[in-house]
Symmetry: C2
Subunit: 255 residues, 2 copies
DNA sequence: GATCATAGTCGTCTGCCTGACGATAAACAG
DNA sequence: CTGTTTATCGTCAGGCAGACGACTATGATC
């Protein structure tokens, strides 16, 4: 087919954000309430149009800051912000009833924050446990059809996008040190373990987990300090080390 | 920001294809020669515009068939075609000098074929060893800058896309049965091992490999036949089993 | 036909890692 | 002081991977 730049079909390109955090032992996602039709009043993932001279990742970072006040972690500074990566692109015709919209979804992993307090708009944004947004136990990934069940709590195809983002997070903390993105700059082994337990929805043996993470070179570096903020015996504080991949990986029970 | 459908910035949306196969012990990618400016005469990944009422995956499958004659494997029929999955989306402003193009790259893993024989156009399409297309040893993925070195052999940002696709294939055959997508419908353990060796660029121990793949339930199912097409002692023929994930994974040496 | 080269297949052994779980340490609450 | 909570160290058995040895069955070569 000839490549005719003057005759390309017009698309709208947006970014949608799956922003995950761990709050009170539960994996939570950031959702915003839609003020306009379609899906008015329904919850949706934050997102917006990509500007005409803006890179996709920059658009995602901008929307994240606009809607949550979160900042993305730069390549050098460690743990002053959130982790952002591209997730997947959703372009089914008819996913937006108004026009042809291709949405480049991004995944953000953030430490627990006081409260989103959106850009001016207050109670139209909140952290929602992913269990309350997704039918539990549904892998949802590439399956042919997952309809049937209670009605979709999220607008558009955002349940599908959220499910894909959650699955990416669940698998990625297996073989990378990304779980530290859910933690504050300094954290204990127990806090990191509770991140794994919340994301995977399982209980892990504290002793084996401690052996694994402290025995993996470059995963954790002790800061020297201790804390008792979790109660019990004082625990060592760590920062995330330079390692990005976990080899061998952290093993998720069953599966 | 208000969501104004009438004022969205116009984008062109394309699909680009990273089509990989294994030929003569080498991982090869499908490239086409560009007939028009820009990058006229340079090699590029196959691809084209998404039609206005077409899903992204359907566009990728259509371009694949148009440019190579390959067909995508349906969810039910096993190994009558190639594996296709979405890879990532590239939307840097200026990646196409003519206009703002967002390209949704897809990854295709195909068995070795007689010869592409493009849509009418003969020698403008070929299999090229990825070692000849990419600076060897460059991970290339999300690194800040990989310029410096010999000039880029591929048009646009296609070297980056190809590198990302190759890295995806390399990591995915670790923990999935996707390496069988490089094999004909019936294949031997040795042929499968040569796939791993070509994709990873390493030598694997035939005995340990045999133990691993035949010992993983659901990975391979014997067809009862044997073949001597590789020389030596006759080898059992297998088909791909129903398993899609390898747990525990196939371990890549060093890394 | 004997010999060689090539591939395939089955075992063995050792070391590492994980899961299961006992035991101890150091804080706080009553 | 006692019980509770959390952290941390140790031990032990089983599974799996890497390193190889050994044997089998074909085709090629002399």
């Amino acid at each position: 087919m000839p490549y005719d730049p003057s005759a390309f079909p017009p698309f709208a390109v947006t970014v949608d954000l799956v922003v995950l955090t761990v709050r009170r032992h539960a994996l939570c996602a950031l959702v915003v309430r839609r003020g306009e039709s379609p899906y008015q009043g329904r919850w949706a993932l934050p997102g917006g149009f990509v500007r005409i001279e803006e890179d996709l990742g920059a658009a995602a970072a901008r929307e994240l800051t606009e809607e949550t006040g979160l900042h993305v972690q730069g390549p050098d500074d460690r743990h002053t912000g959130a982790h952002l990566e591209q997730l997947a692109t959703y372009g089914d015709p008819g996913r937006d009833p108004r026009m042809r919209v291709v949405s480049v979804a991004h995944l953000v992993l953030a430490p627990d924050l006081p409260t989103p307090t959106a850009g001016g708009d207050a109670d139209s944004v909140r952290w929602a446990p992913v269990d309350s947004l997704l039918p539990p136990g549904q892998p949802c990934g590439d399956g042919p059809d997952r309809s049937g069940g209670q009605p979709d709590p999220l607008a558009f195809d955002h349940s599908r996008i959220l499910a894909d983002g959650v699955e990416r997070a669940r698998s990625k903390i297996e073989y990378s040190s990304l779980a530290t993105a859910f933690c504050p700059p300094e954290f204990t082994v127990g806090e990191l373990r509770r991140v794994y337990e919340a994301v995977w929805g399982v209980a892990l043996d504290p002793r084996n987990f401690h052996r694994k993470v402290t025995g993996t070179p470059g995963f954790l570096v002790p800061t020297g300090g201790t804390t008792t903020r979790q109660g019990g015996r004082p625990a060592q504080l760590f920062r995330a080390g330079g390692a990005t991949v976990l080899n061998p990986p952290m093993l998720r029970p069953d599966v």
